[in-house]
């Protein structure tokens, strides 16, 4: 680099200021404000752990957390399994087709929230297309399917987890080199032995990382559930929103405490993902 004065170099850091101000105003300060509120009593005064105690012991909120975790876990596992199978199939095709499939997955990840909830109502609502076909054919499980229940919500969550999981899992398969399969075969391994001893262990950190991202994705989701069930289904994100912008009396302090709990879970997921990624890097993958 041309050694111009270091002052001139430092001057360039001024471009950072607007960004830092923006991040402060719309992310950092509000988050700090929220954390502060979570330690206040209902009148916004003092310092108390009461909101956390209430959030964790009140059966309503406990159930919300449990529901959120359950629905996120099931949808993440299901999405991951579907993505593992489908991504592998995608890798078996030509580059052009692979790019197409990735583009489609990318596109569908935009199809979440209100539009997704609505599309599912059209398919599986009480008068939905598939529901009607189910009635016609006499398939009880489809005809009587309740989209607005836990099962229905899980189904919509799985739908938006799948393309996201494909985008995350697909690159992992590129890490499995064709020569490893060939070397394993030359050493007497069957296809199954290859996957058991090499393929799966190599994929594992990435898969666990993907799982944690999917968990975070589902835990933080709000729009799909809200559009589908309003505030009727008891999820953590729905509770938080109802506490701060609902029709009942707002309780920002309790809402903040629940939000902090949610954020902690999300950050834990991100840390797990980062940890898994560094584990893969150390192996030179």
């Amino acid at each position: 680099m041309a050694r111009t004065s270091s002052i001139q170099n430092k001057m360039m850091l001024l471009v950072l200021i607007p960004l830092l101000v923006w991040l402060g105003a719309f992310e950092l300060v509000p988050v700090l404000r929220m954390i502060a509120m979570s330690f206040q009593n209902n009148d916004g005064q003092g310092f108390t752990l009461g909101q956390y105690v209430k959030g964790l012991t009140n059966p309503l909120y406990g159930k919300a957390m449990l529901n959120s975790l359950k629905i996120s876990f099931i949808s993440s596992v299901a999405g991951l399994i579907i993505a593992l199978v489908c991504s592998y199939s995608i890798t078996r095709f030509t580059t052009k087709l692979r790019d197409r499939m990735i583009m489609i997955s990318n596109m569908i990840t935009n199809f979440v929230g209100v539009p997704l909830a609505f599309a599912y109502m059209i398919l599986l609502g009480s008068n939905g297309m598939l529901t009607l076909i189910g009635k016609e054919l006499g398939i009880r499980s489809i005809a009587g399917f309740d989209l607005y229940s836990e099962a229905g919500l899980t189904l919509t969550y799985i739908y938006y987890q799948v393309p996201m999981a494909i985008l995350l899992v697909y690159p992992l398969y590129n890490g499995i080199r064709e020569e490893w399969k060939e070397a394993a075969a030359m050493l007497g391994a069957s296809v199954w032995s290859f996957w058991r001893h090499i393929g799966i262990p190599v994929l594992l950190p990435g898969v666990l990382g993907t799982f944690s991202i999917l968990m975070a994705n589902a835990l933080g989701a709000y729009a799909t559930a809200y559009a589908l069930t309003g505030s009727n289904y008891n999820l953590l994100s729905i509770r938080i929103s109802a506490l701060v912008s609902g029709d009942i009396f707002p309780n920002f302090q309790l809402g903040s405490a629940l939000a902090v709990i949610l954020a902690v879970i999300m950050i834990a997921s991100l840390v797990i993902n980062e940890w898994m990624a560094s584990l893969s890097r150390r192996r030179g993958l």
Binding site: P30, R33, M37, I104, G113, F118, S256, L262
Partner: protein, 278 residues
């Protein structure tokens, strides 16, 4: 003659079937919505009684819908421009002159993932509902938060473009040839990162068109965006709402197509050479 002849074509069939099922699964909701939006009337039959474009007609003549689209476009365009104007110089300066400081950006891009809208909205409502900057319910708060939401994508793509073209070497070469820093940035770097930046902008744009949580919690009916309009319409006219969903999906489709076109573009001389296989 040939070892393991069988199995190969079976595998083909299996993988083809998997992809087929996947495509049906992914497109079924869209297809269903499309069919619904074209139906004149739909009672108990499996297929509609007749087809019509009237629902598209109705939304495109509905002033409220057009206004919502206009508002979302406005927020999208302003946010993307502001984000680019602020982020591109920062990414460039840190990437080329202060690589150690890039850590800062890596943390900032993680923020929206650690604090989903439902979480960060709380502090925002409290801070901006009253007091000196009471901007909830206005376009300003949306621009503020959408900036935070899209900056990770802008960062990712601009940084990738910079490293594809070896920005540091290019700038140094330009400086050795007597260009000023500004000139080096404007005439050498900017044209080369433009396509990547455009891709990120389009992706950001489609995100903003799909955003619901912030606009419901921070703005509500006072500044109705497309997603809010859709949510309200869902409860009044299902078929008009389905036309909105299809229109929204068509927009994503167009944006994705553009992204694919632009994504394949690489600055001249950076195309990876076709590797000769033995």
């Amino acid at each position: 003659m040939k070892p393991k002849t069988s199995g190969k074509s079976d595998g083909r069939k299996w993988h083809g079937t998997v992809l087929g099922v996947l495509l049906v699964y992914l497109f079924l909701p869209v297809a269903g919505t499309l069919l619904f939006s074209l139906a004149r009337q739909w009672q108990d039959g499996i297929l509609p009684d007749g087809y019509t474009l009237q629902w598209y007609g109705s939304i495109f003549t509905d002033g409220r819908f057009l206004a919502a689209v206009g508002r979302t476009l406005l927020v999208g365009v302003i946010t993307v421009i502001v984000t680019l104007a602020l982020m591109v110089p920062v990414i460039f300066v840190l990437n080329v002159y202060f690589p150690k400081w890039e850590r800062l950006l890596q943390i900032s891009v993680l923020l929206p993932f650690a604090f989903p809208p439902v979480v960060s909205a709380i502090g925002l409502i409290k801070m901006y509902s009253s007091g000196p900057v009471a901007i909830t319910g206005t376009v300003w708060i949306l621009i503020g938060v959408y900036f935070i939401m899209i900056q990770p994508f802008i960062y990712q793509s601009v940084r990738n473009s910079l490293s594809t073209i070896n920005a540091k070497d290019l700038v140094e070469a330009a400086e050795m040839l007597g260009a000023s820093r500004m000139a080096a940035f404007r005439r050498v770097i900017l044209p080369n990162i433009l396509p990547g930046t455009l891709v990120a902008s389009l992706l950001s744009f489609s995100m903003i068109f799909g955003e619901f949580v912030m606009s419901r919690m921070l703005v509500g009916g006072q500044f109705e965006t497309v997603q809010m309009y859709l949510y309200n319409q869902m409860n009044t006219s299902g078929q008009a709402a389905s036309a909105v969903v299809v229109t929204y999906f068509a927009l994503i489709l167009v944006l994705s197509g553009l992204v694919l076109k632009l994504g394949a573009w690489k600055p001249k001389g950076y195309r990876s050479a076709q590797v000769e296989e033995e």
